[in-house]
């Protein structure tokens, strides 16, 4: 069964079509990379999957036992967050909020989960550091840990490598691949960095106001749209 399935999905903003005719599905264990130019509708799709925006047509089905509030999300950073006085531990713990329900305080299991994610991402030494004093790459890891805390199954990553240097970028990609392979988490990643994206992804969804390509990575590399997009970057 499919974790996420889009059936004829169209999104509009105030009557203008932002993204139309999406038909794709994500299965358990997949690593889907969503690529496309700026304004191609990538962020809109993410909002749709996270139920922050409703499609004007079609359905986004969430299945296979996945609950809508159990999707881990790594958003793009806001300016307000860069100088936010909070410890790494507090930030990651806030990812467990969706398992809290109406209870006011965190339980021991929540705190243990935070420690587990800290170890997994190799940032246990940052636990008591202040979030605003970390480097960009470290901050992304912290937010990734928070996303892991919030999800059991699916991670949605919105441009995770924006603003990182090449070394950090490579490390983060390897970390995401590790989470996909070892932790068996399904991943949907939005990226405009096509080279890095296709290295680890299993599937590609190429958007350009509509669905230009969906399928396995190998097929994408040999497809016309894929060759054009990847080749275009190489010629830069």
């Amino acid at each position: 069964m499919n974790l996420i399935e889009c059936q004829d999905v169209t999104f509009t903003y105030e009557g203008n079509i932002a993204l139309s005719d999406l038909n794709f599905c994500v299965k358990r264990g997949d690593y889907l990379c969503v690529v496309g130019e700026n304004g191609a509708g990538k962020s809109t799709l993410i909002k749709g999957i996270l139920r922050l925006k409703n499609p004007s047509k079609g359905n986004i089905l969430i299945g296979d036992g996945l609950k809508a509030n159990q999707i881990g999300y790594l958003p793009q950073q806001t300016i307000a967050q860069r100088d936010f006085p909070a410890s790494v531990y507090e930030v990651i713990l806030s990812g467990r909020l969706n398992s809290l329900g109406i209870l006011p305080f965190y339980k021991r299991a929540d705190k243990e989960d935070v420690m587990k994610q800290l170890m997994l991402l190799g940032i246990e030494n940052l636990k008591n550091r202040c979030y605003r004093e970390l480097s960009g790459g470290q901050q992304q890891r912290v937010l990734l840990a928070r996303a892991l805390c919030a999800s059991k199954e699916l991670l949605v990553l919105d441009e995770p490598v924006t603003g990182l240097d090449p070394i950090m970028t490579g490390e983060l990609y390897r970390l995401i691949a590790k989470i996909n392979e070892e932790e068996k988490r399904t991943i949907i990643m939005v990226s405009h960095d096509i080279q890095g994206a296709i290295m680890y992804a299993s599937h590609i969804l190429h958007l350009g106001k509509t669905q230009l390509f969906f399928g396995k990575k190998e097929d994408y590399i040999n497809s016309e749209v894929g060759m054009h997009f990847i080749g275009g970057r190489e010629n830069d």
């Binding site: 922050l52 809508a68 999300y73 806001t78 006085p85 006011p104 004093e133």
Partner: protein, 272 residues
């Protein structure tokens, strides 16, 4: 100094002012952290002006001021947040609009009815003498209510303050908690207004938060320090005000301002 405090405590109205003041300062400082971090620092100002208009109208209609101004402020707070969301009118513009609009309505109401008098002056610049027994009781109950709600929803308020989109995406009803923050702030502003005055109340909300953010690196310690600074600033201000017969609100703001500058200097020195 201890003698002076003993002397102060022998006046019942000063005891009232101290109790209410400390409770309201606590509420304001806790909520202030979220306000400053969410870039809503001006919301206190906007709400206090709305509160002023509501008080003026309450006076004109001869009804209890707090019973009118609290609901009006709560509605204004919701509207302000809404404007920030679906924003043809941006947040700061909306707040500025509300500020001057409400002030004008208040001043017009006063001039058409009783005329400018000391009562009005008290509301503009604050006075601890303006509270009667019923007010004190209501203020104490409401501020304790605000404090309890804040503690219960602390984790949720943190999540919504740090990252609203993430909270929403992972199933937290962030709109609801935004409303809660606005609701609590509105109550705090109305309660604090009588002591601090319309023009100065927002300092009670933002100064302690800003001072503690200079110093602390964990959210929880920011909250705790902010509460402490707020109480210290309040007591110092009221002490000075008593000794030198200065306006209460302004004295408290000056105390907060001195603390803020002090912590800024400390931070600069530490950074070297």
């Amino acid at each position: 100094m201890i003698n002076t405090f003993q002397q102060m405590l022998s006046y019942p109205f000063l005891v009232n002012a101290l109790v209410v003041g400390i409770l309201v300062s606590l509420c304001a400082s806790l909520l202030g952290v979220s306000m400053v971090l969410k870039r809503y620092s001006m919301i206190g100002d906007g709400l206090s002006h709305v509160g002023f208009a509501a008080l003026a109208i309450a006076y004109a209609m001869n009804v209890a001021p707090l019973t009118v101004s609290i609901p009006v402020c709560v509605i204004a707070a919701f509207l302000l947040l809404r404007m920030n969301e679906n924003s043809k009118l941006k947040g700061d513009a909306a707040t500025a609009l509300l500020c001057s609009g409400a002030l004008a309505i208040g001043v017009m109401t006063i001039s058409l009815t009783s005329g400018m008098n000391t009562d009005v002056c008290n509301y503009m610049f604050g006075s601890i003498l303006s509270m009667n027994k019923a007010d004190v009781k209501l203020s104490i109950i409401l501020s304790i209510f605000v404090l309890i709600l804040y503690v219960i929803f602390y984790n949720k308020i943190f999540a919504v303050t740090f990252d609203e989109t993430f909270a929403k995406a992972t199933g937290t009803r962030s709109n609801l908690y935004n409303m809660l923050i606005a609701f609590l702030t509105a109550i705090t502003v109305v309660l604090g207004m009588r002591m601090m005055g319309t023009l100065l109340i927002s300092s009670l909300i933002i100064f302690p938060a800003l001072s503690s953010m200079r110093l602390c690196k964990h959210f929880r310690s920011v909250i705790i320090c902010s509460a402490m600074f707020s109480v210290v600033g309040f007591v110092a201000g009221i002490y000075f005000s008593y000794m030198h017969s200065t306006p209460t609100g302004a004295s408290i703001v000056i105390a907060d301002l001195i603390m803020f500058i002090l912590f800024n200097v400390i931070e600069k020195i530490k950074a070297r």
